[in-house]
Symmetry: C2
Subunit: 291 residues, 2 copies
């Protein structure tokens, strides 16, 4: 059952983070505050689920790579929540990092979380150097100027842009959210012997579930209560950002998320990859989740 | 002659940065704005100078590692200049990044510069995977929660602390400035065959010149004009941060910088390392510079 699987993933990743952030100083405290706060750890779950198809990676290294993705995701949330960005004061059911620790420390905690994501990969005990280099290549590209950071720029740049269309919205979220989700799936394949056709199927799968995930985020922002979401409702409306609901409506948005998930599952099912059960469960969970 | 040597280093590193930041979007524009602005490139110079003692590294890889350190340093300057940090509006003789591009883009440009530092190392054509892993290990540790970021935290945390002593000030600057300077020197040794005793001598050398560099910064803040410094004068005073000048006075500060440099040079001269001329010149340049 997936929630149980994700619970196990969360426990392992939290243990790893606890060991990696020793809480010796205020910056580590601020890092741990956000990284260890209760979250769904979807990206870690995707690294694990993807790695079920990969016999060439150790459990310890799966935990390392999952933790790296979650550290990176946490840094991006801390920076995105800053007053100069989305100015959100609630995250993971607690005050945002800059509310708790001040803006300067929130910027620094995010910066240090990014550095730590790379640091724990290079210090993994089981990955080969080639594997580490491949993992850092995936992660740095996904998170950089042509990936997640660029997506966040576009997201903010298009505040107050009321003429944004669905194609543009897809582009923004493919970068802002999709790149790291694709990265998570591909990190599960570090060292794997899959052929390029199968890897392409995984990339196609992950880019589609990444977008479905973001559309579901927009849907939940309308349909779910704040205490279950654990973050500010109507943040996009406050910042004059158009969402999928604004552009195509709630019904169409649900259809689009479902269709993307179907297409993602088709890509997987038509591939020659074995042991894809957990990836299928994750894809279904992403659009069926409550927060 | 050292200025000529540094000019060559700057040209090579700028060329590499130009190739790495393609200016296709606003974030790349903001990254290039700060990274390519005229600067002394002392850290790149230290990678080069250190690598003169190392026969096992290619010119291209020296350029890569130098560029990575400069990208990292640039990101730290952009974030340090933010209103929530030191709130400085002049850097490298031009408006600070957030003055030119806004706070959100400055945060993002810094974030992307950090990612790019790692990305260009993993994509180097000549370093082995082991070398890349070693380089990223050095860089991520130097810049993270127990290095540069922690130093910047302490620096801000001690604003308004008028009882700070010289030991504490040394600790802050060893972290904030010294860690990345030591990292630059050690990156020049990637792949080197130096024995641990020699590497320790280099570490000792670099930690001492790192502190001498920072003391000289404080001296120049008092003795030099803003247009030559290229950054705001009296920034520390504005933020109620005590400097070496405040605590021990200008004369003692100069003596301390000179003494540290002498000790650093002793470490080098007493070691068995060959081809240390450029490192010696760099150490002397750091305390003799005009900006």
């Amino acid at each position: 059952m997936l929630p149980e699987y994700l619970s196990q993933v969360k426990k392992l990743v939290k243990d790893k983070m606890l060991k990696s952030i020793s809480n010796n100083n205020k910056i580590e405290e601020a890092m741990a505050y956000s990284a260890l706060a209760d979250s769904k750890m979807i990206r870690a779950g995707l690294v694990f689920a993807s790695s079920e198809t990969n016999k060439n990676i150790s459990k310890e290294s799966i935990i390392t790579l999952s933790s790296a993705v979650e550290l990176m995701h946490t840094y991006s949330l801390i920076h995105d929540d800053l007053p100069c960005m989305d100015d959100d004061n609630l995250r993971r059911n607690q005050p945002s990092n800059h509310i708790q620790y001040g803006e300067a420390n929130a910027v620094l905690a995010g910066d240090a979380l990014q550095a730590l994501a790379y640091e724990i990969i290079v210090n993994d005990n089981f990955l080969s150097s080639d594997d580490k280099v491949n993992a850092i290549n995936l992660l740095s590209k996904a998170c950089g100027k042509n990936g997640m950071v660029f997506g966040q720029y576009l997201d903010i740049e298009n505040e107050n842009n009321q003429s944004i269309d669905i194609k543009k919205l897809d582009d923004i979220h493919n970068l802002k959210t999709g790149k790291l989700i694709e990265c998570a799936v591909m990190l599960g394949q570090i060292g794997s012997s899959l052929e390029s056709e199968s890897l392409n199927a995984l990339r196609d799968f992950s880019s589609k579930i990444g977008l479905a995930f973001q559309i579901t985020d927009d849907i939940l922002d309308v349909t779910q209560i704040e205490s279950i979401l654990g973050k500010n409702k109507n943040s996009d409306a406050k910042n004059n950002k158009l969402t999928y609901i604004d552009i195509i409506g709630l019904g169409e948005a649900k259809l689009k998320a479902n269709k993307l998930t179907d297409l993602a599952l088709n890509s997987l099912n038509q591939s020659n990859i074995n042991n894809i059960d957990k990836l299928i469960e994750m894809a279904k969970y992403l659009i069926g989740r409550e927060s």
